[in-house]
């Protein structure tokens, strides 16, 4: 998208427009764009030209978007490029999205941040600006580790959901449909379906805990600069064991009380392998 050669950029643009066409046939309503464009060495590219080329490419794609579609612009600080990424942080994604127009917004992948980034603050500000596209959920200790959601820092996940619930409610947004919810975790030391079940469970827990936060009391504590009390209120929600609640809700919806346990007892994996063969399953996931 940022390539110095216009012909190469054209290829990338046309590929995206083609993807939109397939998406329309599939009933999709959004194009999610993550660009690995960047550089490995100082001098390899001109940052300004790379940004402008990317903007132009995205503008052409934007023009081809159906009326009821969105385009989501993801950012990432490094990898596969190790000196610069052309859409490297939320500010660069926001700059592009605001130049593109109302259909464009910023997608947050939890693993796409430098160490120490306050992700929940970014989430809050993007919601404030009407520019939060949605999430790629996962967890990480170092970089884009794509570990199971909630496996490394579940409190951070809760804090993000706390901002989501508060910020969406403030704008009257529908929790389920207003933004895109995606899991982007994958690891080869776990059965991928179990990984997914654990990720979904972690998201349900964080969401339920965020709904438990006493917002009136929190606002009062914030107004009084009662910092210790604000922490008590958040941790009161976070420390609550919401698993029985989630299990009951799952049961009421025809699901399992304990998804990983049920998956194992019902030998879902074995049955799928019998149906599809060992290699097909492996490739399919």
């Amino acid at each position: 998208m940022h390539h110095v050669d216009k012909a190469v950029r054209k290829q990338a643009i046309e590929h995206n427009i083609e993807v939109i066409k397939y998406g329309v046939q599939l009933g999709s309503k959004a194009l999610s764009v993550w660009l690995s464009d960047g550089s490995n060495f100082p001098g390899q590219l001109n940052f300004r030209t790379a940004f402008q080329n990317t903007l132009e490419s995205l503008q052409e794609i934007y023009t081809a978007l159906p009326d009821d579609w969105k385009v989501w612009v993801e950012y990432k600080p490094y990898e596969p490029n190790f000196y610069s990424t052309t859409i490297g942080d939320w500010g660069q994604s926001y700059l592009l999205a605001s130049k593109l127009g109302a259909k464009a917004s910023t997608l947050v992948d939890l693993g796409h941040h430098l160490q120490g980034t306050n992700i929940e603050q970014i989430v809050s500000l993007l919601l404030m600006e009407g520019k939060l596209a949605g999430f790629h959920f996962n967890d990480s200790k170092y970089g884009d580790d794509d570990l199971t959601v909630g496996s490394i820092n579940p409190y951070q996940l809760f804090l993000i959901f706390n901002e989501l619930v508060e910020g969406m409610d403030a704008r009257g947004m529908n929790h389920a449909t207003a933004i895109g919810w995606m899991i982007d975790a994958s690891h080869n030391v776990k059965d991928p379906i179990e990984d997914l079940l654990q990720s979904v469970q972690a998201i349900k827990i964080a969401y339920a805990q965020a709904l438990l936060v006493d917002k009136t009391a929190l606002q009062a504590a914030q107004s009084n600069n009662d910092v210790a009390q604000a922490q008590e209120i958040l941790q009161q929600a976070y420390r609550t064991d919401v698993r029985p609640l989630i299990a009951q809700a799952s049961l009421a919806n025809g699901g399992a009380l304990n998804p990983v346990e049920a998956y194992r007892k019902l030998k879902v994996r074995d049955n799928l392998i019998k149906e599809r063969g060992l290699k097909t399953v492996a490739t399919g996931l």
Copy 2:
């Protein structure tokens, strides 16, 4: 500036407006704003409210700016607050500056970034948007260490100057006056004047090396995706020992060939202490 209590914010606003008045008397043309506002614990504040309060406060100050003044909005990820800073990164500063108007822009302190941030890319993009206010120069290995400019990573300093020269030339900006040049380094293990002399020397070296970059050849290498050649071109400039050139220029301007050496030989410090007394000097620096 982000305080929940409007009366407290009013105090801060009035203090800034008072500062502008003194500035006018002193012939200054810019107000530089760094806010330590932030939070130490999750829940302590509402990020959105904190941002909006800050914006409102800055808008009132902006209204009070004389016609020919600028306001520079600095950002910093952490310290003195250790959970969030209300103007935490360039994106948050840019968002404020773009909402404020043409007189507002973003000030870059080299030490105010998370580890791994590509500062030169931020410099390039802010220049592109006409929103680079200027710099607080220093160097650091960890955080806001405020070490002597060029003492830890002189190549990064060169790369920043490379973006500055290229980006300012592209917009026809005057190198000396278009942005604010400040040194914000301070360390108590060095004589502060020697520290300053070393910082100025490092800046001169990086600037001279950036001027030496063969821009035509670099652009050609970039157009051909000749990454090895692009690195050769940058390092050809960086490896050049420009100290004789700078010494000659200093001499031509009535300065010393080797500032630190001259400062020591002329016993400037001793003479200042004789003039002002030991304690006064210490306080004054």
Copy 3:
């Protein structure tokens, strides 16, 4: 301790020996040593000489230790020095402690690590080597932030306690007395006693949850490389709301069910201020 001048080192050594004498009178059994020694600029010191000087100084102090005393060697990567710290990481502390002898061991302050450090692994290995002195508990998002224990990443705290319980049990160590338990958190945006109460509560929660880990099942999962199951087992313990249990234990020991709430209802702070005066209390904490 690492000073180039032997006379200066002697002063520091004698100060420590004096402290031991006071400690003996107070019934203490350990000397905790944290050295801020380091450098701000490349070249400022010779790393090897600094290490050897520190070792020699500590050896003199070690010789002066009473038979039943320990010396705890703390490490920290940066601050107040911003280029190097002479005892910068656990490896450097361990190297010193192993050269000193059996009375010397390594003290872990949770905030004294580079971003991304796996602290629980360090704890496990130090226990394995019989060289874990104890802890300075706190929490942090960036560096040595000294925030309330459990306020930023309570899962990490649990994982540390999980290693502690497992590792101490493996060596038959007494949980309460075998190592030093200290809280080193302090923040001026909270009432310091409330901060302490919240820290103690977070430690009790993490410890209780670590005791709940089904060690037999965990070992079986580890032996089978059943990674998903191992995570289920740890999170089963961590997700349990142990607060009622802790409240009951507190009540049984004559304590409050909810310490922060009780502290507020009983107006402990107001009463202390009445007794001691406003300024004394402030200074005393």
Copy 4:
């Protein structure tokens, strides 16, 4: 090496012993061990068991080492595992190497550190302990980026060589043969031979500059705590343009004045492709 199953560990051990046999036939004198062993999720393994299993495996390999061989133990904080690495830092490698014996030492890959690590200090201390095996040279901005040596932070490279020269001279070590010198950089956006030529050039420059450091003056500045002067001395050497010297030395040894330029002018790559075919060359590198 750390596997819970002894049979699996046996396979790894035997593989290493086989490698030693091939090495003997090739005239090699060292076995370099980098283990990717680690874990992706808390609970996946027991840190102590993993360490002990690794130690046992290495002990068996150590026993199989010919008398005049060395074993080099590399460390790395993360990747391909994203929660823990069993030999994660220099301290863990040192602990293993000291338990193994005199033939074992620690290999430093410049990219295998957490952000902010003072690598030159580690180099100095390992030399002091007689436990520095050698280097994998490369450069990085984020993690194990394997970029061309000297392409991101050439001053850090100089500082490492400064410790090497000083520390090896202090022990009377032969610069060329006492430790292992390896380049471990690789990037697919450059011709790999050009990448290598640039890396070698960067190493020669850093080494030549380190030899230029006025050690007597530096020691004097350190003894006087003259921090500004110490910086002047180091930068005096670093700012010197040693490229003409290196070119002359290269010419005297039958090499090219400018390696990358010569490689291009002589069309070495084209000629190699003609000889070997396009695909073979690509695979071979």
